[in-house]
Amino acid sequence: MRLISTGVIALLAVTALAQSLFTYRDRSGTLVIKANSGSATRQPGDNLKLILKGNPLTIDDKASGLTLSSSRATAMVAPGKDVASRLRSVVTEGRTTAAQTQKNSKTTVSADKVTYSSKGESGKAVFTGNVVLTNQDTASRQTLKATGATGQTDFSLNNTKSRDLKAVLEGNVQTEIDDSGPNGPAKLHTSSNRMVLVYSNRATTVTLTGNVRIDGQGASRFGQYTNLSRAVLTLDGKGHVVRFESEAK
């Protein structure tokens, strides 16, 4: 009986919380923004400035496949050509997670601060502080994980049907690539000053520069490389390293 009462109270609390969210939805349902509290102010050109606070705070833009979650954010929404509105910019404060879903791929980046902006058909997100990037190929389940001090991603806003994303991480970049294959589990650990990831429909390239170190583990065909100034790894559609180029210092 006590358990049932507790359950009912918890259910009521969850329902009350769900009902109290400050929610913005564009007329097509493509852009949905939710927060505990907020303010919406009309700007010139019928743009709408949203100041959002509280947890959960989510910005879900189905048009670009971008989802942001944070505790504080300022977003600018502009009228679109049709009923869909456009997410023009977002600045978050506090730990933020940005997830970008593309064809057969999901990239998640978390950082202390995120600034997103869109122009034309492209979007850009700048990440500051304790950046953690994870990319998973949803078909092969292969993953790539990287950490750095700052980062940036550039992507097409029409990329839910394609795979077109560039990510740059800087400042003591550590990378872990799942290179498991027929020979068994394998991983590549790398460290560098800078890393550039380019995802496309055909392949993924990982370009490492500055104090590059690569360490193959498990069934990896890689041994250990140190003191490289530059290294380029090419991954196939299944996330396996199929090409490797390097330059020594």
Partner: protein, 180 residues
């Protein structure tokens, strides 16, 4: 005797006309006012305008029926049904509204609307739907509560709680976020 009555009526009308009334009910209400009635039941259309201290229009209300009270100062308060009207912000109409009921405050210049409230921004294509609002002219804001929904040119806001807005609906916010 008839002459005395006419003289009395003319004096009463003159006195009402000279009063610095912040709120002006018209038609049936003004006729009752002339007779010096304190409680006024109006069965029929009527309208009124509330003026601020500097004689600026604060809001207008048009009703189908009303129960009003004339104060000694000349101002009016009370309830009105099936109302429409205007909300003013610095001499211009900021928004128009409709509601089932309106209540004009006796103590201040507040206007409260209840039941199927719709506020339409004049300058900007926004609509506020809710169960109840109170217009607070002294702070230039509207508080809205109950099933609040705002339609803007870019989309729809469902605050899920009470909100505070500017009279023209240019800013809509949960109370702690208003003005930020």
């Amino acid at each position: 005797m008839k002459l005395l009555l006419w003289v009395g009526l003319v004096l009463a009308l003159t006195a009402v006309g000279c009063q610095n009334r912040p709120y002006h009910p018209r038609k049936q209400a003004s006729a009752m006012d002339a007779l010096g009635a304190q409680s006024i039941n109006v069965n029929g259309d009527g309208s009124a305008t509330r003026l601020g201290n500097n004689r600026q229009k604060l809001w207008t209300v048009r009703w189908k029926t009303a129960q009003l009270t004339r104060e000694k100062t000349g101002s009016f308060s009370g309830a009105m049904q099936s109302v429409t009207g205007d909300i003013f912000d610095r001499k211009t109409v900021a928004a128009t509204y409709s509601a089932d009921r309106a209540d004009a405050s006796k103590a201040d210049n507040h206007l409260t609307l209840d039941g199927k409230v719709v506020v339409k921004s004049k300058a900007y294509n926004a609509l506020l739907y809710c169960d109840s609002i109170t217009y607070l002219p002294e702070s230039n804001r509207i508080t809205a509560s109950g099933h609040v929904r705002i339609e803007t040119p870019t989309g729809v806001l469902n605050p899920g709680q009470d909100v505070v807005t500017t009279p023209d609906l240019a800013q809509i916010a949960t109370p702690e976020m208003f003005g930020k």
